[in-house]
């Protein structure tokens, strides 16, 4: 982790859905190569927070800067920025109308990031990295949940992002498939990817996170190293939550 380079800066982020105040002033900074795990009860706003980071949700007020570029500025080319911020969803969201390899090649080729041959080579390499090179010509519906999620990670990696966002990536998986997805994520973390992970996998948080954020009621109530949060939580809400899940 590089403490000198802030990758994502969030200042007083507020998000309302009508009269529902989902995020009530979130402020934090995420450094290059840092793995931040966001935990908290459901409805705490952690997924919304993550979705704001690549503007899948419009923010109500506050600032988000990625590499110093302001996300909330209408002049910022959001599509260009999203190319560098990968996102992995709870329900995988592979493109159902095309085989795995085309899922991986679609964006790089369509956005003319590279030639078709290069895109294909990279797609195959990424599939290999997640251990699924033999599934290149399968359709998403022919894959298991764990395989779909690994393909989804590979698809994001094809755009060569320098930040990866994970929105409960293992919550929709059968228990025996959680491990294979977490392994891929651990490897990414080891390779120095900047990662923000919303998850209920406390084991993963303990093992991989540099920092854990505890969110409740649309705010970050407590943050610290996994050691601090899991061994010695200070906030009563954190204690209560951890008692329930651990």
């Amino acid at each position: 982790m590089n403490r000198n380079r802030i990758k994502i800066q969030v200042e007083n982020l507020i998000k309302d859905f009508g009269s529902l105040h989902v995020l009530q002033g979130v402020t934090t900074a995420i450094y290059e190569g840092e793995v931040v795990v966001v935990i908290g009860p459901s409805g705490s706003g952690k997924s919304t927070f993550l979705r704001c980071l690549n503007k899948l949700e419009e923010t109500t007020s506050g600032r988000i800067m990625i590499d110093g570029k302001e996300l909330t500025d209408p002049k910022t080319d959001i599509n260009h920025l999203r190319e560098r911020v990968g996102m992995v969803f709870q329900h995988f969201n592979l493109f159902n109308n095309m085989p795995v390899l085309r899922n991986l090649m679609l964006a790089p080729v369509d956005l003319k990031k590279c030639s078709k041959t290069e895109a294909k080579a990279r797609a195959v390499a990424m599939l290999k990295r997640v251990g699924l090179e033999e599934k290149a010509n399968s359709y998403p519906r022919e894959l298991s949940g764990g395989q779909k999620q690994r393909v989804a990670i590979a698809r994001s990696l094809c755009m060569k992002p320098d930040i990866m966002l994970f929105d409960e990536p293992t919550s929709a998986l059968d228990p025996e498939m959680v491990g294979e997805v977490l392994d891929v994520m651990k490897e990414l973390a080891r390779d120095g990817m900047t990662m923000v992970v919303v998850t209920h996998e406390m084991g993963f948080a303990r093992e991989v996170a540099n920092r854990v954020l505890f969110m409740a009621d649309g705010q970050i109530l407590e943050e610290g190293t996994p050691e601090q949060i899991f061994r010695n939580p200070q906030n009563p809400r954190t204690k209560d939550f951890l008692n329930k899940v651990l």
Partner: protein, 225 residues
């Protein structure tokens, strides 16, 4: 009946040709209108959505026979007798009929297309956007191809309805099948035989269309396998 067909068969088949021509024009423009209005009803822009809503409800709320009279008689009257434009505006029955079918079928097509797009999980669009694809690219590459597959049966159904609706345009004097059959009955007084033949002719064309639809549907399913 066979005797009648041998005498008037040629006339009736030609009229069926006119029916198909009218349907073809109508459907062609209906597809364009349907696609545009259908997409307008799912985009973020409030003006677009409002326009689509008003258009669809307006057309659906007016019987096609009224729409036909309105376009064929009403619109030229407005220009010639109310606004007194320099060059007289006249519409041929084919033009008016095509416009009428296109508007009517277009409104229903728009609804089919809107429902088809909305039936695709929102996550597909989000995933496409999250890898950097712009909205229209994502629509074109990911959402529409999936939407079209679910839309095909409804679209074919709408095609059949529109083909049958051409008969309504006999009221503005277009020489399609029903209008021609009326003349045949007037000449021969053979109501039962004439309308029987006309019914069979419609049936044959529509069965053919349905068969074509089945083939197309199976082909699309196969391709997606």
């Amino acid at each position: 009946m066979i005797d009648l067909f041998s005498r008037y068969g040629r006339v009736l088949v030609t009229a069926m040709g006119q029916t198909l021509l009218l349907a073809l024009y109508g459907l062609f423009f209906a597809c364009i209108i349907g696609l545009i209005v259908g997409i307008m009803s799912v985009v973020k822009n409030k003006f677009c959505r409002g326009f689509a809503l008003v258009f669809v409800n307006l057309i659906r709320g007016v019987p096609m026979i009224v729409l036909a009279y309105f376009i064929f008689f009403g619109v030229p009257f407005l220009f010639n007798n109310v606004l007194h434009v320099q060059n007289r505006v006249t519409l041929t029955a084919l033009q008016a009929g095509s416009i009428c079918l296109a508007l009517n079928c277009g409104a229903y097509m728009a609804e089919i297309i809107r429902a088809g797009i909305q039936s695709v999980d929102i996550g597909q669009m989000e995933a496409a956007r999250s890898v950097g694809l712009p909205y229209w690219r994502a629509m074109q590459r990911v959402v529409l191809p999936q939407a079209i597959r679910t839309m095909i049966p409804s679209i074919i159904n709408q095609f059949i309805i529109t083909l049958k609706d051409t008969s309504i345009l006999s009221v503005i004097g277009f020489p399609e099948l029903v209008n021609t059959a009326k003349n045949v009955v007037a000449e021969t007084f053979l109501s039962f035989q004439t309308w029987g033949i006309v019914a069979i002719m419609y049936l044959i064309v529509i069965l053919l269309l349905q068969w074509l639809a089945k083939v197309l549907e199976r082909r699309l399913k196969y391709e997606s396998k």
